[in-house]
Symmetry: C2
Subunit: 338 residues, 2 copies
């Protein structure tokens, strides 16, 4: 693996380093004749500038850091997100560096380590939350980043988020249109940005539909299939069980579906169930799960755009973008009712 350097190209083309560099980075400064000659040498030698040298000189690595969420937390939706992010970054000549805290290392320290090593030009954060410590730290260090998700920071920062409230509201509207009057919600414990937003969407849309709000139809629990199943059981065991159950995440919905089956009822017929995130299993289970899909394509593209803008002009006030999710209806709600 011998490296062809810019020198090799000069030798071959019979010009100076500066000229070769110009051919690569500012072709218009070079005479046609010379340019052709150099381009040829570059081609013949398979020359490509060294990223390390470029980074050193430009003080820019063209790398953006992304802390890969732990598998436990990772709803598989984030994997789609990752694909889109890589694609968008590539469009700007940026690559994504994945990192994770070493065993025993704190999350924040992992970020710090990457920063100090000047390994990346900026970060993409995901799964931000209230009082997210990363946001505070990065703002303080004036280190470039964009977040997928909002947070309550005193200083503004650039983020892209999906309107979870509207997403859940669209589920409720869909159910109301189908004739449902009594709708339950399985949400997360209060205190998470996205969970609260989704729950708020539920409350808002129930009131908007004139169905009033029965707080006892709202169950809050951890995000797992097992918890969803228990929550579903709680709702179904009522003397007046709801005819539809909305959840703030697919995982919970799968649990609810199990509870429905265990109660001897049929999902999509006697009880409608809906999730959020449109994870891969949603289309595989039977009946298919109605869910809310986040526009990961636009999310990835926007995140990278905002980061690039930030990198180019750190002084510019941070932009924020709120995107709308899409309702994917499947048999878990559209199966005919009793």
């Amino acid at each position: 693996m011998l490296r062809t350097t810019i020198k090799d190209v000069c030798d071959k083309a019979g010009v100076s380093v500066g000229t070769v560099s110009n051919v690569v980075n500012a072709p218009h400064l070079v005479a046609d004749e010379t340019r052709r000659k150099v381009l040829r040498a570059i081609e013949d030698l398979h020359y490509r500038p060294s990223r390390a040298a470029r980074s050193l000189q430009a003080q820019r690595t063209h790398l953006i850091g992304y802390r890969l969420p732990d598998p436990v937390d990772a709803s598989s939706a984030l994997d789609v997100f990752l694909h889109r992010l890589v694609g968008s970054a590539a469009g700007h000549g940026l690559d994504l560096v994945l990192f994770a805290p070493r065993p025993g290392q704190s999350d924040l320290d992992a970020y710090r380590e990457v920063i100090r090593g000047a390994g990346v030009d900026g970060f993409v954060l995901s799964e931000t939350n209230y009082d997210d410590p990363r946001v505070g730290m990065l703002i303080e260090l004036a280190f470039p980043f964009v977040a997928f998700g909002r947070a309550n920071s005193p200083s503004p920062f650039p983020w892209v988020d999906v309107d979870g409230a509207t997403g859940v509201a669209s589920v409720v509207a869909h159910l109301v249109a189908l004739g449902h009057q009594s709708i339950g919600l399985v949400g997360w414990p209060e205190g998470s940005e996205s969970g609260d937003a989704r729950a708020a969407g539920f409350i808002r849309s129930m009131e908007a539909a004139g169905l009033g709000l029965d707080r006892s139809l709202i169950v809050r629990t951890e995000n797992s299939m097992a918890h969803g199943r228990m929550a579903g059981r709680v709702l179904l065991d009522r003397h007046d069980p709801p005819s539809a159950i909305v959840t703030v995440q697919d995982e919970l919905a799968f649990g609810v579906m199990t509870a429905v089956a265990e109660a001897g009822l049929t999902v999509g017929k006697e009880v409608a169930v809906a999730g959020f995130d449109d994870t891969p299993p949603a289309s595989v289970v039977w009946p298919g799960l109605t869910s809310v899909r986040q526009p990961f394509d636009a999310i990835g593209r926007t995140l990278v755009d905002l980061l690039v803008a930030r990198l180019e002009d750190p002084a510019r006030p941070p932009q924020t973008v709120l995107l709308e999710p899409e309702l994917i209806t499947r048999a878990s709600t559209t199966g005919s009712r009793r």
Copy 2:
């Protein structure tokens, strides 16, 4: 974001650059007293060597490249793989760089571009196949890599793989132990390394169990739920349908499960179904899908170990490691039979 350089540390500690460098890279060469002084300055200044400068001088980036498979191809199993890979790499002070071909760019060119830019020290390949062009190219360029998956290359190269044949054989053994005598297989078209291995495991174990081999019980089709469903229908429509259907991938199994339900039969009771990869939906569907889980923890660790060994001594003959998968039994096979 001002960068603290090695110079800043010298100034603060009152020593020379060489000494600071030694404190970082060869502490034993430095007197205790001096070392403490320097370490302190490093701490105070939050100094961390610049990756770019280090890379330039060492001709090593401490980055390893991984081409993120396109979402279409990506069985969600690969996402678990990615997590393990990042973790293992971090243990060796390496980070993972994700890349993908730009629109219109060929897969191979994407690799070439990363190579020429000296962006990474080596690659981890996944989803290798017969005559994998990447393997040939990297061997020819003498560029370090390890593969997750085998390939038929004239020259040896380092790989880690999971014994798919044994995995499927363990499924068959499990079914035979449950009393099944007539077992069908839904496989992929011939010509993929992993698909052929899995099918071979089926054939081998059927013969080993003394059940002979009815080739008409083997259906080969593309990897999708829809194709699995059609294949399942073919098998179930026979005048002597099998009592169990083994598939080479979960996706196919989900399709088969649908076909079973559509035939008015119950998965796990009248017909046993099994998959491969233990993807997330496998534990969510009802009944749960018996599947074969790959040991991603060991896979990730071994891949990085092999790559690091290769980086340190490119001359050493390439190692290969074959790991055993684990059978995860769920209700799709263990539900009581008729």
